[in-house]
Every structure is written in structure tokens, then in C-alpha cells.
Symmetry: C2
Subunit: 181 residues, 2 copies
């Protein structure tokens, strides 16, 4: 549910025709501006692994008013892998990968109830602020559907955190008693 799979996204961007690294990076920025920023280095490294694994192949090394550039295209295997990725569901993680949760657990372990509680309260404030920010983004006149959908995603999860924070705040005293018997 968490880390975006860079290789598959690159395969996706290559599906609409061969491209070289630089183009891919720009396509990524254009299509997924709200996602984790992608460094150039990462593009080439990933392309290298994809080529090694037979997912993409070099289709040309031209130079056209500029530095050399090597164009990559999907292989049949690559297209199949992309297809598989799209049709497979992302299994919801069997474990909970949340710094927030880990931090509260650690706070309960090493400190007292108040410490854990203040940690939760502080977090609630930060989330609330970010929520307001995102609501702004969403309702900005310049917002495209891309932006709105992404903002909605983030908003839904911030909201989930906030609801969890609330119920956990209620439980923190009991929880502390359970951890330190």
C-alpha cells in the first residue's frame, strides 16, 4: 500500500511508445506530479535493471541536436509484466507499516502515559493543518482531476489517522497499564 513501484510505473510510461531516460523522467513529472519525486539517477538505474531482466530493450542510439540518447521500448515480456501488474490486486499489507503507530508504541515503552498522549496530540495538530492545506489544493481553481483525486486520497488517509488518533487517545491509559503490568 505504500512504496510506489517505480519499475512498473516506468513500464507504464513506456507503453505508449519508446522513450529515453530523460523523456521518461519528464513524463513521470507530468503524469504523477503529486507522487514521490523521481530523480534522474533512479530512472537510469531502473532502466538498467529492466533491461537486464528483459522487460525493455534498447531500440536506438541517436543524437539529434544534443547529447547521445538511448531509446528504450517495452519487450513482449515487459508488456506482459505490466499487464500482470495492472490486473493483480495490491494485497493490503499483512502488517502495519506506520511510523505513527511505532512511535506511540515506543513512547509507551520508554516513557509515561503523558508522553505518549502529548505525542498523539501534537500529531493530531499537524494532521489537522495538513488537512486544511489539502482541502485548499483540492478546491483551488487551478486544480485538475489529477490533483483532486490525489488530494482526495491523501485527505482520506489523514482523516483515517485522525480518527485513529482520537480512539487511541481514549485508550492510551489502559494501554499503558497493559504494557507495564
Amino acid at each position: 500500500m505504500s512504496e510506489v513501484s517505480t519499475p512498473h510505473v516506468l513500464l507504464g510510461l513506456l507503453a505508449s511508445g519508446g522513450r529515453h531516460g530523460y523523456e521518461l523522467k519528464r513524463a513521470y513529472d507530468a503524469r504523477l506530479p503529486q507522487a514521490r519525486p523521481l530523480a534522474f539517477g533512479q530512472v537510469y538505474a531502473t532502466l538498467g535493471r529492466l533491461e537486464r531482466d528483459g522487460m525493455v530493450a534498447v531500440t536506438g542510439q541517436e543524437r539529434d541536436g544534443g547529447p547521445d540518447r538511448t531509446t528504450y521500448a517495452l519487450t513482449d515480456e515487459g508488456r506482459a509484466a505490466l499487464d500482470r501488474w495492472l490486473s493483480d490486486v495490491e494485497p493490503p499489507l499483512p502488517y502495519v507499516a506506520s511510523t505513527l503507530l511505532a512511535k506511540v508504541v515506543v513512547a509507551l515503552l520508554v516513557a509515561d502515559v503523558d508522553r505518549a498522549r502529548s505525542c498523539l496530540v501534537a500529531q493530531r495538530q499537524a494532521h489537522t493543518a495538513r488537512l486544511r492545506e489539502l482541502t485548499g489544493v483540492k478546491h483551488a481553481p487551478s486544480a485538475t482531476l489529477d490533483d483532486v483525486v490525489a488530494a482526495d486520497y491523501a485527505i482520506a488517509h489523514l482523516d483515517a489517522d485522525l480518527r485513529w488518533l482520537a480512539t487511541t487517545l481514549d485508550r492510551v491509559a489502559d494501554w499503558h497499564r497493559e504494557v507495564h503490568p
Copy 2:
């Protein structure tokens, strides 16, 4: 919001007294059974980095009916870093790190509306199933508060995904039109 910070968690587990790697791994499993599994190798690697950075120090190399073991303890600097980590709020990510979102974007790019829609529907099913599973975990008689709190966290986020899936399903046609003008 996503990747658990292994180093800080280890510092937290060390706060209640010096321990060696194997003990740390078991403490981790005991205290955070619902979190990302932690491999032994990772414990020692992380301890090595923490030592290099002056966060922990070796306090002994005993052998007590078994193989050698090297005990680590928090340094003052380590305790300070742990304290800082606990009091700092986790900044909600400025970007959206979701495979789910990325996959739908890619599906819209490389395929048609139906493909994107079926991807969303399939995902909805998987989430609903996992939701039922987690509700079971939460209400099991054996559930501790640890389990309940963790389950609630996961449930809140699955619910967030489901709500987002629903509104996105409604928008997918419009969105496709915006992406392919």
C-alpha cells in the same frame, strides 16, 4: 507516514537497558508483532550504523553458556536522539505514496476506462475481505490492546482506501477524458 524507522525503534528498545542483538530482535517481535517483520541481519546492520554514529556503544562481550554476545547500550547522544524523535511530529508526507493511486494512473494512461475501473473494483474486493479479517482479529477473545490498536489503525486506513475507491470509481470516466483529450 509509511516506512517505520528501524533505527529509532531499536533505540527505544534499548532505552530500558542494554541488550544484545538477539534480545533486541525478540523484544521487537514481542512488542511490535503486528509491524513489519524484522530480520536478524537488519538488527546487526542497524546496530553497526548506530554505533558508528555514536548513538549506542558496546558495553560488554560476555559469553554465558552459549556463543559470544556483545551488549549495546544507549549513549547520551542516543538517548537525546530518541527523545527528539519522540517529541518531533511525523510530518504528513508532502506527496502521495500509494501504489494503488499509481496503478490507477498508469491504467488510465495505458488502457481504457474499463481497465481502470476493473482495477478499482478488484481492489475494492480485496480490501473488503481484508477488512473482515481484521475485524475478526480485533474481536477475537485473545486480542490484547496492542492487537486492537494496531487492527484499528489498519482498519481506519482500509476504510479510507475504500471510500477513495468509491469516489474515484465515480470519477474515472471524467478523469480518462482529462488524461486523453
